[in-house]
Symmetry: C2
Subunit: 204 residues, 2 copies
DNA sequence: CGGAAAATCCCCATTGATGGGGATTTTTTT
DNA sequence: AAAAAAATCCCCATCAATGGGGATTTTCCG
């Protein structure tokens, strides 16, 4: 029997996973938490074997909470679970002791597969992120310096016009950078780009 | 001499505060941190009297880190420092042990005043937030249930059109709610509203 | 030096969101 | 029951951003 805990700040997603796993005989969901602090408490009480853990959470984030959990219960299998393919975040989660990594847009079938794989003692990494560590250009960031600078300003809620003024460049240039980033990152729309900017604030 | 630490994930803001306080004879900045974990380390090393602490930070957020610091060093004066007037967050920071609260759009003069006030042992609360706890409608949220629901969907990156479809209402209704929220919260633009939604994910 | 990558700028049609109005219906509170 | 608040919808002009082109100039690396 695999004991599983889910830590994720979107309750809707927790509900979905729970109802999906309800009929899996080998998996028992021992609890869920909406933030890192609650997860710590839960782990103290139930000591689950596997934890599905969002990286970005209130109170204590996935990386910090993974470090703490692994320190206390080294045999816990923590699977990082996040929206974006964040190379930095992956590295840090692995360093903290995670043994699996999946993206939130994966099917629940993948999630289930990941849970079973790590429960057996094997690592599990989402196929979609292999290209980022498997091939040659592993260490270089997708975004250029200028793009990161602009993304930083976007994450502070600034519009293209304001960014242009601040950097003494044209609005059209900012728009071009925006478009290039959206294309490079495979996102769609200003909302996702802003989310990405805020969520990815792991690397600087 | 007031020993001060700054915890804030925007380095630019730290730099600004540091250069502003450089010439204040009674204040010594003993360090700064970009996330909650780094702040904990810093506090262990330097034991500052006053801490300016952002609520939303990577690793460990302001509320959780305040709890931990106050547990270890009960005499530390922690001033919460955030972008928005979040009633829930204020309450939780106070509960965690903070003795001051200021908004990031305050002048650095206010910041200085707050640091000196809490250093003397008095609480300091930004005047701009007084109305929220001083008058009659103290406990009720600014936003209605429907507005919060829509804000939740906005924070998941959805557009007005998508939200309208999902809630079986007209796009114009969603737009109206959006506008009302922006007006009520004193924000400007979709970017700030999305930031607010993500940052404010403290109350649910 | 020479080519690749980065950064700069422009046009255009379309979609999304803002801000200013206004209006009706339902629900809640007094 | 009357007043207040919440939720619904509409019009319109304007601004912001997307996605599709294209183009030039710097800057960096081999």
């Amino acid at each position: 029997m695999i004991t599983l805990a889910i830590a994720e700040d979107h309750q809707a997603l927790i509900d979905g996973i729970m109802s999906y796993m309800e009929f899996e005989e080998d998996i028992q969901i021992v609890g869920h938490a909406n933030d890192g602090e609650a997860l710590l408490e839960l782990v103290h009480k139930k000591q689950p074997l596997v934890i599905l853990c969002d990286i970005r959470m209130p109170r204590i984030d996935g990386i910090a909470v993974t470090r703490q959990i692994i320190k206390e219960y080294p045999d816990t299998r923590i699977v990082a679970f996040t929206m974006f393919d964040q190379q930095e975040a992956i590295t840090q989660m692995i360093a903290a002791g995670a043994v699996g990594y999946i993206l939130k847009n994966s099917s629940l079938e993948i999630v289930l597969e990941a849970v079973r794989t790590v429960a057996e003692g094997n690592p599990y990494f989402d196929k979609k992120i292999q290209f980022n560590e498997g091939n040659k250009n592993s260490s270089k960031s997708l975004l250029s310096t200028r793009e990161k600078e602009i993304l930083g300003l976007i994450s502070r809620g600034k519009t293209s016009h304001e960014i242009a003024d601040q950097l003494f460049i044209g609005k059209s240039t900012v728009d071009t950078h925006r478009k290039n980033m959206i294309r490079k990152l495979g996102l769609s729309g200003a909302g996702e780009l802003l989310r990405y900017a805020l969520e990815k604030k792991y690397d600087f």
